[in-house]
């Protein structure tokens, strides 16, 4: 056993997936928290301030690099594992294995993950790329202190004024929901929680978490499209 087996063995690879998964789960809480500021219904003032804070603090910028790496590792490792696992059965079954006790979404993590990835690419193109690189085509907002900050809120409003975008986002959130529903508890299993009592609690928390986070995200484009927030 060498230390690098930690990453190359089947169990090690799962650990990498679980650790990055938990990291992304934590990130989603922050992300959802910030975005929830739009519901302050103050014309985006609070949201823009918080978004600016996140973009301007050096600590968070460094963390962002970590986040990006987390995404990349989770995505690539996930895809590699999916393809490797599929190759373990060269001749498939004529009648598809159907086991009702095992959930469809737990057996479709690769597919759900890929859908989320496609959604993410669109999402990055919509928000992350303009705010970091190409710039936002809306006048900057001037704070009371006189400081000028990006008007991300305006970008959101314009992006979510198109129906197809809203639909894609809602679909993305639905994929995310199923992905998290399995991923949340699976990550803890992989990290070694084996006590049936704790596992039951984790499963419940996982459901509540997945439901709230995904509902919150899905309601953002819907709220804006329907004009619930101004």
């Amino acid at each position: 056993m060498k230390w690098k087996d930690l990453f190359t063995s089947s169990v090690g690879k799962k650990w990498v997936m679980a650790l990055t998964g938990v990291f992304l789960i934590l990130f989603l809480i922050v992300h959802a928290g910030i975005n929830a500021c739009i519901w302050a219904n103050d014309g985006g003032v609070m949201f823009n301030k918080v978004a600016h804070f996140m973009g301007s603090t050096i600590v968070i910028r460094i963390l962002e690099v970590g986040l990006f790496l987390g995404f990349l590792i989770h995505i690539f490792q996930g895809l590699i594992l999916e393809f490797q696992n599929r190759k373990k059965r060269k001749t498939g079954y004529a009648v598809k294995i159907s086991i009702k006790e095992s959930t469809w979404y737990s057996r479709s993590m690769g597919l759900l993950g890929t859908l989320i990835l496609l959604f993410l690419i669109l999402h990055w193109k919509h928000f992350w790329v303009p705010s970091r690189f190409t710039g936002i085509p809306y006048p900057e907002v001037i704070l009371e202190s006189g400081k000028k900050i990006h008007n991300l809120y305006a970008l959101m409003q314009s992006t979510f004024s198109e129906l197809w975008v809203v639909i894609v986002y809602v679909l993305g959130c639905i994929s995310l929901f199923w992905h998290l529903l399995h991923g949340f508890q699976s990550a803890f299993r992989t990290l070694g929680v084996s006590h049936p009592g704790y596992l039951k609690i984790i499963q419940r928390i996982g459901f509540i978490y997945s439901f709230i986070i995904c509902l919150a995200f899905a309601m953002m484009p819907v709220s804006m499209y329907l004009g619930w927030v101004k």
């Binding site: 696992n85 498939g92 006790e101 095992s102």
Partner: protein
């Protein structure tokens, strides 16, 4: 119990040997009693095939009481057939109705190559046990059996894990062809007992390494294995293995 007879259509995987491509063939069996076991129905079919001068279907079976782990078969998309916590040999025909079409395939995984028809080679499991699925104690060197008390809960949990019959249904059902349930059951059985502690770390590392080498996939906690396990072995043992593995790996000397 209501008894009845039925006529059935069987679509069975036929493959002459490991290198043959294989195909499905359709057979009809008549007057099958609901009291028969699934394998007895196969016996009837085979007698019929021999009388017709055809090659009977090869399938693994031995004890026919659900404990040796020799029988396999995937029946209508489920290893060991439709009943819960069951082996193929214990499946009885009252699970089916007159006119049913039953598709029978071998356990499929690269690590379980087909030998003939429904017979597969599961020697990979033996090699995984060879990698560390034991407690190293030579005959004669044991202390008195009651010298080391074992908590009843732990002894019961070790027994529940040790109940594995090594049939391979977990692999057959898993979308990743993973053998984690099999491996984790042995790791848990021995790791839960005080006698198994000295080799606890090397055991889990070596058994997982061998499992990877044999060409089984990685576990994604779908729970399909537990659902088809004839002995109802819990996937919680897999979580236990994950923990044992990382503890062992992180403290490994190299």
């Amino acid at each position: 119990m209501e008894h009845y007879v039925m006529n059935l259509t069987l679509k069975v995987w036929r493959q002459k040997n490991t290198n043959d491509k294989g195909r499905f063939e359709t057979y009809h069996v008549k007057n099958i009693s609901s009291e028969m076991s699934f394998l007895e129905m196969f016996d009837v079919l085979n007698e019929q095939l021999i009388q017709e001068g055809k090659d009977p279907i090869a399938f693994d079976h031995d004890c026919r009481e659900g404990i040796c782990g020799m029988c396999s078969m995937v029946i209508n998309g489920r290893p060991h057939g439709p009943w819960h916590r069951n082996t193929t040999c214990q499946l009885h025909m009252r699970a089916f109705r007159d006119g049913d079409v039953i598709v029978v395939e071998p356990f499929r995984a690269n690590a379980f190559p087909v030998i003939k028809d429904l017979v597969v080679d599961r020697s990979a499991f033996d090699r995984i046990i060879q990698a560390g699925g034991y407690i190293s104690v030579n005959t004669g060197s044991a202390v008195d059996a009651n010298a080391i008390p074992v908590e009843k809960d732990k002894a019961d949990a070790a027994f529940a894990a040790a109940a594995c019959i090594g049939c391979g249904a977990c692999v057959a059902a898993c979308k990743n062809s993973s053998a984690m349930l099999f491996v984790s059951a042995k790791v848990a059985h021995l790791g839960l007992l005080p006698q198994g502690q000295p080799e606890r770390k090397t055991r889990v590392l070596n058994m997982v390494a061998q499992m990877d080498k044999e060409g089984f996939g990685a576990c994604t906690n779908t729970g399909a294995c537990e659902a088809v396990c004839p002995k109802g072995i819990s996937i919680d043992y897999i979580a236990r293995l994950n923990r044992d593995y990382m503890m062992a790996a992180l403290s490994s000397p190299e």
